[in-house]
C-alpha cells in the first residue's frame, strides 16, 4: 500500500521507475476514521429505533445534529483558519427560521428548510465580512459577541419571534417510523451526519480544500499561486454556514420547540470545544468531542443539570492539559510516533523534461522591464530608482549585501508591495498596479526566503498545489515521468520528515509545475550541500535550455551565481551599482571591494 511507511530503499527504487499508480484519495488514518465514524452513526441511529426507545432516539438525533454543526465549524477553523466562537448563532438562525416558517405561519417543512438554510447563509455573510479585515482571536471576539447578541435580538423582536414564549413546532409526521422503524427525521439526520463526516475527511483532499489550506497557512504564498485568500475565506464561511444551516433546520423537529434560551453562547462554545477536545482535523474528532461534552453529561447527569457546565469546562481543561492535540488527535499522534522515522531520498532532476526533447531556441524579447522603480518604507528607501531589464530565457542573478533591497525588488516585481514610482513590465505588459495574484496569473511564479512548505498539507499536496495552479497558458513541458516519480517519493512521506534544504527545492519544483514562464527565486540554494548545489545549478540550466524559462534568483553564493547566471545585477542600498554579464560585473571596480567584504563577512 502506498500509504504505508516504506523504507528509504523502497522509495529510491520507486523513484527510478514511477509506479503509475494514483495515490489513494485518503490516507490510512482518515480512511479508518471515516469507516468507524459511519459505523458509529449508523449503529447509534438504528439501535434505539429498533428498541423503540424514544428518549434515546431524540438524544442521539440531537447529538448527531451537533456533530454536523461542529464538523462544519471545524472545517472553517482547520481548513480555512477562521476562528468562529459564534457558530451557535448560525445554527440558531436556521432553527428559528424553521420555527417561524413552520410553527408560526404553518408552512411545510421543506419550505422551512429553504428559509432555514437561507437564514444561516445570511449570518454566514455577516461573519465573513469582518473576516476580510480581521483574523484570529479578534474575529473570534466579533463572532462571540454576535452569539451573545443573537438571543437578545430574539427577545427584542418578539413580534416576529414570539419572544420569551418560544415557538412550538409540531411535526409529528417526521417522527413517525417509515422504514425499519426509523422515522424520516432519523433518516435525514443519519444521512446528513454521514455526509458531514465524509466531507470532513475528503474536503482537505479536494482542489478547493488544498487552496483553502494554502490561503490559511500563508496568504502570500496563496497569492503567488494565483489564489485570492479573501475569496477562500468567503467560500469557507458559505460552506460552513450551509452545513450548519442544514443541521440547524433539523433541530426544531427533533426538539419540537425553539426558544431564545436554547441558543445561548453555550451552544457556540460547545461546537468549538467539541472540535478542539476531539482533535482538530480528525474526522472522528467531533464525534468524540460531542460524546464527551454533550452526550455523556446529559445521560449521566440527567438529574443534576446544574453540574453539567462544571463537568464540561473541566473536561475541556483537562484534555487541553493532557492531550493538546485532542483525544483522537492524541491517539493518531501516538500511533505516528511509533512509526519509523523517515528519510527522504535525494531528488533527481535529470528527468524533469523528456530526454527526447531537444533544446529550445532561446526566446526573443524582454521578460521583465523595471524602470525607475522606487519604494520607501517610512523614511527607509528600500529601492531607489532601479532600472533593470531581464531578457527572455535568461538566468539573472541578483546579488548584494543583506538589506540591499533584493527581496524588496522581487516583492515589487510580483505585486506584493506597490511601488511608489516607476513602472514594471512583464512580457511587455504593464503590471505596476496589478495585485500579486494577477501578476501570478501572467506566468510569474515565486519562492520565498523562508520556504513555504505547509505541515497542514501532505508532502505530495505541497507540490500538487503547484499543478493545481496553472499560471500561464504554456503547454506543460515537465515530463509525466518526473511528476510520477515525484509522487511516488512524496506520497508515503510525512511532511515533517522533509529536511529543510529539500523544502526549498520542493518549493522550486512547485513553482515549475505551475508552468510559470518567469521564476523569481529568493535564495533557493540556501541550506543545500555542495553536491546539491551542483545538481541545483544543472536544474536551473535545464529550466532555461529545455523549458525556456526566465529565472531571476537572489543568491548569496557567488560561485553558484557565477556558474549559472547569464547576467548579474548588483544592488547596494537599494541602488543598482552594476549590471551585465558575469565577467564584466565581477571585474567592475565598484563591485570588487563589495564582494571582498561580502566574502569575509
Amino acid at each position: 500500500m502506498n500509504a504505508k511507511v516504506s523504507t528509504s530503499g523502497d522509495i529510491a527504487a520507486a523513484a527510478l521507475a514511477p509506479s503509475g499508480r494514483a495515490l489513494p484519495l485518503l490516507d490510512r488514518s482518515a480512511r479508518i476514521q471515516l469507516v468507524i465514524g459511519i459505523l458509529i452513526l449508523v449503529v447509534a441511529t438504528i439501535v434505539p429505533s429498533a428498541l423503540g426507545q424514544a428518549y434515546w432516539i431524540g438524544i442521539v438525533n440531537l447529538a448527531i445534529i451537533y456533530v454536523v454543526a461542529s464538523i462544519f465549524m471545524g472545517l472553517l477553523l482547520v481548513d480555512a483558519g477562521q476562528v468562529s466562537f459564534g457558530h451557535g448563532a448560525v445554527f440558531g438562525a436556521a432553527a428559528y427560521a424553521v420555527g417561524i416558517a413552520c410553527g408560526m405561519h404553518g408552512l411545510s417543512f421543506p419550505v422551512g428548510i429553504v428559509f432555514g438554510v437561507l437564514a444561516a447563509l445570511v449570518i454566514g455573510v455577516l461573519f465573513a465580512l469582518p473576516a476580510l479585515r480581521v483574523q484570529w482571536f479578534y474575529l473570534g471576539f466579533v463572532t462571540l459577541s454576535a452569539a451573545m447578541v443573537f438571543p437578545q435580538m430574539l427577545f427584542a423582536f418578539n413580534t416576529l419571534t414570539n419572544g420569551i414564549n418560544g415557538i412550538s413546532i409540531p411535526l409529528p409526521q417526521l417522527n413517525a417510523p417509515i422504514l425499519f422503524g426509523l422515522s424520516a427525521l432519523s433518516i435525514m439526520t443519519l444521512v446528513l451526519g454521514i455526509a458531514a463526516i465524509a466531507t470532513s475527511a475528503i474536503f482537505p483532499k479536494t482542489l478547493l480544500g488544498r487552496r483553502m489550506r494554502v490561503a490559511s497557512a500563508s496568504p502570500e504564498a496563496a497569492q503567488s499561486l494565483g489564489i485570492s485568500p479573501g475569496r477562500m475565506r468567503f467560500i469557507a464561511f458559505m460552506i460552513a454556514s450551509f452545513g450548519t444551516g442544514l443541521a440547524g433546520v433539523l433541530y426544531p423537529p427533533t426538539v419540537g420547540f425553539v426558544s431564545p434560551n436554547a441558543f445561548h453562547l453555550d451552544m457556540s462554545i460547545l461546537f468549538f470545544f467539541a472540535v478542539i477536545v476531539g482533535g482538530k482535523g480528525q474526522p472522528l474528532g467531533t464525534i468524540a468531542g460531542v460524546t464527551l461534552l454533550y452526550l455523556l453529561p446529559n445521560v449521566f447527569l440527567a438529574q443534576l443539570i446544574e453540574y453539567r457546565p462544571l463537568v464540561y469546562g473541566t473536561v475541556a481543561f483537562l484534555v487541553m492539559l493532557l492531550m493538546p492535540a485532542g483525544i483522537v488527535g492524541g491517539v493518531v499522534r501516538w500511533l505516528t510516533l511509533r512509526q519509523k522515522p523517515q528519510r527522504m531520498p535525494a531528488l533527481q532532476f535529470g528527468h524533469i523534461v523528456d530526454s527526447a526533447q531537444v533544446s529550445l531556441p532561446r526566446p526573443e524579447g524582454n521578460a521583465i522591464e523595471i524602470k525607475d522603480v522606487r519604494k520607501a518604507f517610512g523614511s527607509v528607501v528600500a529601492i531607489n530608482n532601479v532600472t533593470l531589464t531581464v531578457r527572455r530565457g535568461e538566468i539573472h542573478g541578483l546579488v548584494g549585501a543583506n538589506g540591499s533591497g533584493k527581496t524588496s525588488l522581487l516583492n515589487v516585481l510580483n505585486g506584493f508591495s506597490a511601488s511608489d514610482a516607476g513602472t514594471v513590465k512583464v512580457n511587455g505588459r504593464d503590471v505596476t498596479s496589478l495585485r500579486a495574484r494577477e501578476v501570478a496569473k501572467l506566468g510569474v511564479g515565486r519562492t520565498f526566503q523562508t520556504p513555504r512548505i505547509f505541515e497542514q498539507l501532505s508532502a505530495w499536496d505541497n507540490v500538487q498545489i503547484g499543478l493545481d495552479a496553472k499560471l500561464s497558458s504554456n503547454p506543460t513541458l515537465v515530463s509525466e515521468h518526473f511528476v510520477g516519480s515525484l509522487r511516488d517519493i512524496l506520497g508515503p512521506l510525512r511532511t515533517e520528515s522533509i529536511p529543510h534544504g529539500q523544502r526549498r527545492l520542493l518549493e522550486v519544483i512547485r513553482v515549475i509545475l505551475t508552468d510559470a514562464d518567469i521564476l523569481l527565486l529568493d535564495e533557493p540554494a540556501a541550506g543545500l550541500s555542495p553536491e546539491e548545489r551542483l545538481a541545483f545549478a544543472a536544474l536551473l540550466r535545464d529550466l532555461r535550455d529545455k523549458l525556456g524559462l526566465t529565472i531571476i534568483f537572489v543568491e548569496h553564493d557567488l560561485d553558484l551565481v557565477a556558474r549559472v547566471a547569464d547576467r548579474v545585477t548588483v544592488l547596494e542600498s537599494g541602488t543598482v551599482i552594476a549590471s551585465g554579464d558575469v565577467a564584466s560585473v565581477w571585474n567592475d571596480p565598484k563591485v570588487k571591494p563589495l564582494f571582498v567584504s561580502v566574502r569575509h563577512a
Partner: protein
Amino acid sequence: MWQEYAIILVRGIGLGSVYALIAMSFNIVKVSSGILNFAQGNMFVLGGMMAYGFVAFFGQPSLGVWILLIPVAAIVIAVLLTIQGYLTMLPLSYSDDQQSWLITTMAVSIIIGAILLLVQGPNALMVRSIFANIPVFGMRVPAPFLMAIGLALFWYVVLQWFLSKTLTGLAISALWQDPVAGRAAGLKVRRLQLLAFGISGLIVGSAGFVSAPIITLASDSAVAYVLNGFVALVIGGVASNTGALIAGPLVGVAAMLATFKLGGEFQGLVSMLILVTILLIRPEGIFGSTAARRV
C-alpha cells in the same frame, strides 16, 4: 433633559472605568505572553463576590476595614490568577500547538461560572455600598461609579510607572517586542509572565471589590465584562494602557446611552457594532502605535 445626559455621562464614565480596568488587566498579560485571558471576567466577578461574602458573614464593614479589604481582595484574586496562569502556560512548554490558551482560559471561565452557579444559584447578588450617594450636577450618583474612575486612574499611573521605570516592568515590556530576544538576553520569561498574571489579578480583584455595588454579580455576567473590556482594548489599541483608559469610558457611555435610549437588550448589539466598526476601519485601534502589526 440635560440632567439625564449628565447622569448617563457620569454613570457611563464610571462603568467605562471598570471596562478600562479590565482592558488594562488584559494588556499586561497580553504584553508578557500573547495570551488574552478569557477568565479575567469571572475573576473580576469573583472580586465583587468577595465584597458580598464579607457583608454576608460580618455585616457592613466600617470605612477603615473596607479600605483594608481592597488589597485583600486584590491579593486573593492575584493568587488565583497566578495559579491559572501557571496551568495555562503548562501545555505551551511541551506542545507545538501554541493556541491551547484559547481553550484553557475559556474553560477556566466556564468552570468558575459553573461553581458560582452551584454555590449561589442563577440569581444576581446585590451589594450595598457603604458610602452615601454623592451629589453631582444636582443628582445623587452612587459613590462606586466615582470610585471606579479613581481606581482606573490609580492603576493607570501605577502601571505606567511600573512598565517604564522599573527593571522588571521594562523586562515585561521587552517580551512584547520580542520574546525570543528576551529569553536570549537571559530574562526569566516564565516568571515574568506569571508576575503579569498576578498583576492582572491585583487589578481585576480590586476593581471587582470596589465596583461590586454597581456591577451584575451573577454566574453568567462575566462574558459581558470580558466583551466590553475587549472592545475597550481594541479601541484603545492592544498594549496601550493610555488607550484603554480613554476607550473604556467611551464604551461605557455608549453602553449607557444604548440602555437608556434603546433598552437593555440592545446594549450588547451596540458594543458589537462599535467593535466591528473599529476593527473594519482601524484594526490597530485609535491609540495603537503598532500600525504595521497584522491582526
